[in-house]
Every structure is written in C-alpha cells, then in structure tokens.
C-alpha cells in the first residue's frame, strides 16, 4: 500500500512539471474541440494523435493521448446540450436533459453541470484506476492462455451485443475484426496467411490506418451525406456551477461513478453504455422521475458522471489484462504498444511505475477539463459554428498524413481508404463499428491463446471450460449469445416468471 502511494507520488511529481502541463492542456483542448464537432469521435482523436506523436518520448505521447481521450468524451456534451446531437456516442444520454435545459435558456447551467459531473466521474475513476489496476494485475498473473482466449472472445461478443441495435450484425463485425487482424504473418510460426503473395500484406494490416479509415473517412462520408443542423443557442448564461446543484446530488455522483467504472472495466462495453446505465439508475432512484427527459439536472449529472468515470474504468483492464474496455481505450492500448509499453499481467512486474504514470496523466487531463470547462466556454462555442464543409476536408488531409506517418508507407493510406469506404457502407447498413475495432485489437491475443492453450492441453478442449474463470466467462458469453435466440429467450423468461411466481407464493404462505 505504502509502496503504491510512494510510486503515485513519484508519478505526480514527474508529471506536474511545466512541459507535461503544457502538453496536457493542449491535448485536452484538442480533445474537447474534436468532441465538440459532431462526426469526430474520441477513437479518431486518439488514432490521429498517435500518428502525430509517434516521434515523441513515450510518456509525453501517452499523456497527450489520454488527455485527448478525456477531453473528447467531455467535449461531446457541448453539442449534446446545444444541438441535441451527441458529439461522441458517449454523450447521447446527455442530449435528453441537456438540450431541454438549453431550450429553457439554461444552456450555461447545463454545461456547468456537465463539467462538474465529468470532473467528478473522472476523479472517481482515477481513484479506482490507482486502486484496482495493481490488484487486477496480480490476479491476472494466474491467468493462462485459456483465460485470455475467453477474455478476448467475451470482449468482442459483449461489444457486438451492445453496440448498435442488432446483435447479429455486431457479432459479425467482431468476427470480421478478429479475421482482419489475422491477415499477414502468423504470430506463432511466421506463416503467411491470406497475403496472396503480396509483400505489403505480410506485415499485416496496420491497426492505426485501419482505425483512421473506420472512424475518420467513414465519418467524413457519413457526416457530409447528412444535412447540417444549426446551433440552437447563440448566447449562454453563467457556466459556473452552483454549489447547491453539486452537493444536492452527491449520491447520484457516487452511484454513477461506481456504475461508470464497473461498465468501463467490462471488456468491450464502452462509455455510451456507462452513460445510459447511470442515467437509468439515477431515474430509478430519483424522487423526481417525471423531470427526467424534461431538463433534469440530476439526469444530466448522472449521464456525464457515468461516461467520464468509465474512461479510467476502461483503462484498468487495458493495462492489467491487455483487454480494453472500449473502442477508444483499444486504440490507446495499441498506441501504448507502439510506444514500447506492453500492457497485460506482466506490466505490474516489468513496468509497475507506468500504471501510476497513467493515474497522474488522467488526473492532469481531469484538471485540464475543469479549466477549459469553466473558463473557455464561449471560444469553444465558436467551433460548433464552423461549417462541416470546411472541417471535414481538413480532417481528410489529417487522416491521409496520419495513415502515412506510422510507417511512411503509401500502402497504409490505401488501407485507410479501403477500410473507410467499407466502414461507411457497413454503417449505412446498420453494422456497428466498435466491435470491429475490439476484434482488430484482440484478434492476435485470441489466435495465440487458443492455439497455445490447445498445444498445452495436447488438443484437449476440457481446460477451456473446466477452469473456474474460463467456465464463468464461457457461461456468460454463451448465455449472452443465446439470449438473442428468440426460442431460448422466451424459454428463459417463462422459467424466470415461474420461479418468481413460486418464490412469491412460498413467501406469501
């Protein structure tokens, strides 16, 4: 415990210097700007900044990426409140009450509440990040190939179940992502798979250009094919939050923080689900349920606390297990690998200080978010008014440079174009992209873990379902899938109803 505190102190001392603070403020501002612009996601911000910071020192580069991540999720609440369009998917729940408050002439108050909720959620998440990551890392040391196989599959299937409105399509995108990452040399025997004799494919499809295509080009095409909405609000009231608004809802903040971190830790679930779950829990517990959806301060606070708490929550399994909690944290994890950090159970053994560095980085990002949220609201509002016809072509130039920058290969630019056009078409057909991202990031772990596990057990499948954690993960994964089979779902629900009936009658007697 004391050793952990000492390590945290060292990290805080290292990151509270002049340049780290400058980087943190700059990156948080960039993140907020990206989040403010509907059509640009936190995932794209991290992917693009990974390419920009490729030559920087690893600590500085990862600091910038984390600050941009936190900033982007927070920045999305601006457009949710003013335009009724969530800047990122995580802010969709904030639209419900934020926009209603803006219509009542309380846009500034709504933004102040969003800032407070985001800061409180992020701080709660930072504490959990510091406390839970080392413990989870320690537990994960006992994990073998069998457990990692299920964790990877669980993450992809959960993401497929939750992202979008059609689990079948979500799972399919997850499988496609897993397959795409297997193109190139096999990780165990260096055998070419699906390269068709093409040398550029032997190295595999580069992750960052693929993600820039999936979240950049596809967004550009999507945004420019839809009519633009004009900003509702041209002036805002004071954005300084009222202390009473914050203190009154401390239970909501705490509850949403716990839900956000918990959902963040679940592989593949993501910030949007954290926001919706926190919102739903706040509504259930509220004495003023009727105000939800009509401009409830409590609802907005819950949504924004939940999504920001899930950011550190999503980083916890990414660091301790190398299984990211969401699409943006998957890209963050990939960036860490590019910068020479190997997340996973051995991280606490090989680079224990890094975990506390990430805690300090997230704390800096939170402070940056508070600063910009309270003092730079009006200049930030100007960003929303820049026409998309100007922003999107500039983003395309950034996507092209970013794809090329990782390995200085034009081939990566073509990969970005190919994946981008495919992702655009698939999104139009209601196929969600986040499970694809999780698949791309987890494909290598799944492939190696399955074959290593089978080699260890000499081809016996039993350890994959008899080891306790494997059994639990397998049961949850299979059950989640079966729940979408209508016959199973009906059977389960009728069995559940019969059980409840029996319990009620036995207690009633």
């Amino acid at each position: 415990m004391l050793e952990g505190l000492y390590a945290l102190g060292r990290s805080l001392a290292a990151f509270f210097g002049f340049w780290p603070i400058v980087y943190a403020l700059g990156a948080t501002l960039v993140g907020i700007l990206v989040g403010c612009m509907p059509g640009l996601s936190a995932t794209l911000a991290i992917a693009l900044l990974t390419t920009l910071t490729i030559k920087m020192a690893p600590a500085d580069a990862i600091l910038i990426l984390i600050c941009a991540y936190v900033g982007a999720i927070y920045g999305g609440s601006r457009t949710a409140i003013l335009l009724n369009i969530p800047g990122t998917a995580a802010n969709a729940a904030a639209c419900l009450d934020g926009y209603q408050l803006a219509r009542k002439g309380q846009a500034g108050r709504a933004m102040g509440i969003a800032t407070c909720g985001s800061v409180a959620g992020s701080l709660f998440g930072v504490v959990c990040l510091a406390l839970l990551t080392p413990s989870l890392g320690e537990v994960a040391l006992s994990f073998g190939a069998f457990e990692f196989f299920w964790l990877a599959l669980f993450g992809v299937m959960m993401s497929g179940s939750i992202a979008g409105s059609d689990p079948l399509k979500g799972w399919l995108m997850g499988f496609a992502g897993l397959f795409v990452t297997l193109i190139g040399q096999d990780g165990l025997h260096a055998h070419d798979r699906f390269t068709f004799g093409y040398n550029d494919l032997s190295g595999g499809l580069s992750l960052i250009p693929a993600l820039i295509g999936a979240f950049g080009l596809s967004e550009i095409l999507t945004v420019l094919s839809q009519p633009a909405k004009k900003a509702l609000i041209n002036s805002v009231d004071s954005v300084l939050p009222r202390i009473r608004d914050v203190l009154q809802y401390w239970r909501t903040i705490l509850r949403s923080g716990v839900i956000g971190v918990y959902i963040g830790i679940l592989p593949g679930v993501g910030e949007d689900m954290a926001a919706w779950s926190s919102y739903a829990a706040a509504k259930r517990a509220s004495k003023h349920k009727e105000e939800f959806g009509q401009g409830s301060i409590e609802g907005l606070m819950a949504a924004e606390t939940g999504d920001n708490a899930s950011i550190p929550g999503g980083i916890i399994p990414a660091l301790a297990l190398a299984i990211p909690g969401s699409a943006p944290s998957a890209v963050l994890m990939a960036a860490m690998i590019i910068h020479g950090v190997q997340p996973g159970p051995m991280l606490m053994v090989n680079q224990p200080q890094f975990v506390y560095d990430v805690v300090a980085m997230t704390l800096l990002a939170t402070l940056g978010m508070l600063f910009f949220g309270l003092f730079l609201v009006r200049p930030l509002l100007a960003i929303i008014r820049i026409p998309r016809t100007v922003i999107m072509p500039i983003i395309m130039v950034l996507c092209t440079v970013g794809s090329f920058a990782i390995a200085s290969r034009l081939f990566d630019v073509y990969i970005m174009l190919f994946i981008g056009v495919c992702a655009f078409l698939l999104r139009r057909l209601n196929y969600p992209i986040p499970p694809f991202v999780l698949g791309v990031v987890l494909g290598d772990i799944l492939d190696k873990s399955l074959r290593r596990g089978l080699t260890l057990s000499d081809g016996d499948l039993a350890p994959f379902i008899t080891r306790p954690i494997c059994a639990l993960l397998a049961a949850v994964t299979v059950f989640t899938m079966l729940m979408y089979v209508p016959a199973f779902n009906r059977g389960y629900k009728s069995a559940q109803a019969r059980l409840m009936q029996a319990l009620r009658s036995s207690f009633g007697r």
Partner: protein, 171 residues
C-alpha cells in the same frame, strides 16, 4: 460520433449484405482449409495457422446466414414495398468519396509536393461542397476566394506542424 443511421435498412438490403458475408465467410473457410498446416515441421493440427481463421470463416458464414434467413422471414423477397431506408450514397457522399479517393490515391505520393496536393484538394472540396449555397446566394466568386484562402492556410499549417514540429514524414 459513433452512431449509425437512424432509419433501419430494408430486409432486402439485409438479404444482400448477409449474402455477401456468407460468400466472404465461405471464402475464408476454404482459404483456411487449403492453408499449409505445417505438418512437416511437426506442428499439430490444433496449432495450424489456418485454425482460427477457419473457425472465424465458419462463424461469419453462420452469422451471415442468420441475417439472410431473418431478412427472408421479414419479407425480403415479398413484392416490392416502397423502400424506407436511405440510399447508400447521396450525391454529396459520392462527390466526397470521389474527391477523397482522388486526393489520397491520386494526388498524394505521385510526385506532387504534399502541401500543394493538400491545397488543391482542400480548395476543390470546400468550393464544390459550398457551391449550391453560394450560387443561391449569388456569391460564387467570394466562395472561391474563401475556399482558396482556407485551403492554402490549412495545407501550409498541417504540413508545417507534422513535418517541423512533430518531425513526421509527409507522403
């Protein structure tokens, strides 16, 4: 924004997309089955390089098949009701796609200095996207001037920041 389209696709488009996935899944399965199993190097079948892609091929085929069957149940082949789902490509999306492909696959990396290629692309894209509004407002010349200014400033800034501040090579 990670959201998807608001209007769900029609059963017919699900039938087509599911069918394409079935074909892709079968192709992956066949490719994996035909892949060298490295038996001569003593690699057991359960560790062969084609094992996981093969399983994924089967899963993609089955999921694609489920989408096809569901779309048939929802009447994908029944008559031709008015299609409520939006078209895959609008005119603006097609224009954007053509300009993006023209820039990234045509202009970049083929001898033209990157700042020039970026400026040409930015001017063309901004000007063409704003042209209908500018024409309606009767200020096309002003639109061209604004687009050119933004293009030159943005291309110069991006090139400078990547190349000289962050030491990243430009294509």
């Amino acid at each position: 924004m990670d959201s998807d389209v608001d209007v769900p696709p029609s059963p017919r488009s699900d039938l087509i997309s599911g069918g394409v996935w079935v074909v892709i899944g079968i192709a992956i399965g066949i490719g994996s089955w035909r892949m060298d199993r490295l038996a001569k190097q003593g690699v057991p079948g359960f560790a062969a390089p084609g094992l996981v892609p093969g399983i994924l091929g089967v899963l993609i085929t089955l999921t694609g098949l489920a989408i096809v069957l569901r779309s048939l149940r929802r009447g994908a082949l029944a008559g031709a009701p008015p299609d409520a789902s939006p078209p895959l490509f609008t005119g603006r999306a097609l224009l954007t796609l053509a300009l993006c492909l023209g820039f990234a696959a045509g202009l970049v990396g083929h001898g033209l200095p990157f700042p020039v290629a970026a400026a040409v692309y930015l001017f063309a894209h901004i000007f063409l996207l704003q042209l209908p509004e500018r024409r309606a407002a009767g200020n096309v010349a002003r639109g061209a001037l604004v687009a050119a200014t933004i293009a030159v400033v943005a291309a110069g800034t991006i090139s400078f920041v990547f190349q000289y501040l962050f030491l990243v090579r430009l294509p």
